[in-house]
C-alpha cells in the first residue's frame, strides 16, 4: 500500500545486473493497480534488465521487488502466477502448434480451459490467428509471432502485465488492438508496465512514466510531473526524453 493506492508492482532500491557488475543502481518505482506505466530510456539504459529482475530471470544484488505483496522468495509460484509477460523478441517452442502453445500456457498457469478458450476466441479473431491454430508459429513472421505472445499473455487474469517493446513489428491495426487490450486490463484493475521507444503512443496511453538513464531512475511520475522536473512546461514526452539524453 502507498498512500491508500494498492501497488501491483513495487521495486525498491534494486541494484543488480549480469554477474557481479551492476547495471541497475538503486532503482525504485511502483506501478499502481489500474494504471499503465511506461518504462522509458535509451538503449542500454537498463529497461530490459529491470524487466528481467521483475520477472525473476535475474536476482537483485540488493533491494526488493514485490508483485501484489508477494516476493519471489516468499512464494515463487504465486509470484510468477501474478505476472503475464510479452517479451521483446517472441520466443516459441518449435515443436508446438499455436493451439498447443495456448494449451500449454493454460496448463502452466492453471487456467480453466473453457474460460480461457472463450477469451481466446475473441483475441485470435482480433489478431487474425483463428485460422492458424494447427500451424507451427515458429514459422510465422515476427509480427505474427508477437501476436501469439500477446494472445497468450492476455488470456490470463494476471495482476501485472509486463510488455517489453510491444509495438515493434506489429502492423498499425494490431497496435490499435493491443492498446484496446491494455486499456481493458487497466479498467479491470490490473497494472501494466510497458517498455517502449514509441513515445507518442506512450504519452497518449500511459498514466505514468519511469525514465531510466545509466541504470538509475532519472525521473518518474505523470507527464505534468516530468514537465515540472525538467522545467519544460507544455513539453511532449519526446521533448523531455531528448532533454534527458542531453544531460551530462
Amino acid at each position: 500500500m502507498n498512500g491508500g493506492i494498492t501497488m501491483s508492482l513495487e521495486v525498491t532500491n534494486v541494484s543488480g545486473g549480469y554477474g557481479r557488475v551492476p547495471v541497475l543502481h538503486d532503482v525504485t518505482f511502483s506501478v499502481p493497480d489500474g494504471q499503465v506505466v511506461g518504462l522509458i530510456g535509451l538503449n542500454g539504459a537498463g529497461k530490459s534488465t529491470t524487466i528481467k529482475h521483475i520477472i525473476g530471470l535475474l536476482q537483485p544484488q540488493t533491494g526488493t521487488i514485490t508483485v501484489d505483496g508477494l516476493t519471489l522468495a516468499s512464494d515463487a509460484n504465486a509470484y510468477r502466477g501474478s505476472i503475464a509477460y510479452v517479451p521483446e523478441t517472441p520466443v516459441l517452442y518449435p515443436e508446438l502448434t499455436l493451439r498447443e502453445h495456448l494449451e500449454l500456457a493454460m496448463m502452466a498457469y492453471g487456467l480453466d480451459q473453457q474460460q480461457a478458450w472463450h477469451k481466446l476466441d475473441r483475441l485470435l479473431a482480433m489478431f487474425r490467428l483463428d485460422n492458424k491454430l494447427d500451424w507451427f508459429p515458429d514459422n510465422f513472421s515476427k509480427g505474427m509471432k508477437q501476436k501469439v505472445m500477446i494472445a497468450s499473455a492476455f488470456m490470463t487474469d494476471a495482476q501485472l502485465f509486463i510488455i517489453d517493446e510491444p509495438f515493434t513489428g506489429l502492423d498499425p491495426v494490431a497496435v490499435h488492438d493491443l492498446i484496446t487490450l491494455v486499456n481493458e486490463q487497466k479498467a479491470r484493475g490490473a497494472a501494466v508496465l510497458m517498455s517502449t521507444h514509441v513515445l507518442a503512443t506512450a504519452q497518449e496511453y500511459a498514466d505514468g512514466f519511469v525514465l531510466l538513464r545509466d541504470g538509475q531512475v532519472r525521473a518518474q511520475g505523470s507527464l505534468s510531473a516530468l514537465r515540472d522536473e525538467f522545467n519544460l512546461p507544455n513539453a511532449s514526452l519526446d521533448d523531455i526524453y531528448m532533454a534527458m539524453t542531453q544531460e551530462v
Binding site: A76, Y85, Y93, P94, E95, L96, M106, M107, Y109
Partner: protein, 405 residues
Amino acid sequence: MRELWQKRLRQHLMAQARYLKLVFNDQFTIVLFVIFGAALYGYAQFVRGMSATTAHWLPYVVLVVLAAAVRVGQVVTLLTDADATFLLPRAAGMGNYLLAAMRYSLVLPVAFTVLLVVAAWPILAATWHVGSAAIICLAVTAALVQYGDLMLQTNALLMDQPAQVPHRISLVVLMALSVYATQLPVYWFPVVAASLMDVVLRVWLEQRLRRGQVALLTAARRENSRMQRIYRVYSMFTDVPGLRATIKRRRWLDGWLRTGSRQQRRTWDYLYLRGFIRRPEYGNLFIRLTVIAVVLMCLSTVAWVSMLIGLVAMYLTAIQIVPLATQYREIVFAHLYPLSATARTAALRRLLFSLMLVQTVIFALTGLIMVGVLAAAESVVAGVVLTVLVAGWYVPRFGQRHLQW
C-alpha cells in the same frame, strides 16, 4: 584473410574437442569398442564363408559404395551469417581463406575413403584377387578424387560459377572405373588420370579464386546446415546451445496426443511428449534403437544374449533421450511458469518410464517368439530393473544437475 581462417579454425577445433569429449564418454567408448570388435569378427567370418553367388555380385556393391563415398566430403568454410555483411567488402579477395579451408576439409574425407578402401580389400582380394599394389593405387586414387571433388565444391562457393553436378558425377564415375580397374593389369592408370585431373582443376581453381567473388550468403547457408548436422549428432549426447530444431509434424499421432491430461501438474509432460515425438533426434532414435535391437535379437538363439541386447538398447535410448529436458532452457517462459523445479524432473521420469516399459514389452515378445519363455522372462526382469534404476536413480540426479533453473 589467412589469419582470420587460422583464428576461426582454432576456435572451431576447441569447440569440437569439447563436444567430442562429451560424446566419447567412458560408457559410450566401451560400447563402441564392443560393437567394433563384434563387427570386425562378423566381417571376417562373412568373408571366409562367402558363397560363389555372393562372390559374384558383392564386388559390384563395393564398387557402388566406394563410388558413392566420393560425395562424402564437404568444404568446411566456418563462414557465418554475419560474414555476409561484415566480409562483403572482402568478398573478392578470399582466395587464401578458401584454399586454407579446402586444405583443412581434405583430412576427414580422405581418411574416411582410404579406410573404406582398406575395409573393402578383403572382399576384393577374395573375389577379384586384387593384390596390395592395386589396393594402394586405389587408395591413392580415392584420395586424389576427394581432392578434386573438394576443389569443385570450393569453386561452387563463388558467384557466377557454371553447373557443378556433371563434374561431380564424372568424379563418381571415375572412382567406379578405378575400383573396376583393380582387377585389370592397368590398375595403376586411374592414379595417373586422377593426378592429371587434379593438376588441371587446381590451376583452374586458382584462376577462378583470383577473379571471383565469394557468394557469402550461399556459403554461410551451406556451412550452417553442415554445422547443424554435426550439432544434431552431438545433441544426442549433450546440450548444444543454438541448435535449431528440425520438426516433423507426425499428424497421425495428433488424435492420440489430444487425449492426454490437461492438469497443471502435467504441463511438462505435455511439452516433453511433443518434443519426443516431433524432434527426430529423439523420436527417430527411439525407433532406430528398438528396431536394431529387435533385428539383433532375431539373430540370437541364447536367452541371456537376447536379454543383453535389449538392455544395451534400453540403456542407450535412456541416456540419449534424457537431454530432451534441457532443450527448453533457452525459452524464457520455461523459467516463468508458476511450477516447481521438481515438476520437470518428475515429467522426465514419467516419459522415460513409459518409453522403457514399451521397449521391455517389445523385447520380451521378441525373446518369447525367437528363443522361448526363459528369454522373455529374463527380458522382463532385466527391463523392469533397468527402468526402475533409470527413472528412480539416474533421472533425479540428472534433474539435480541440469533441471534446477
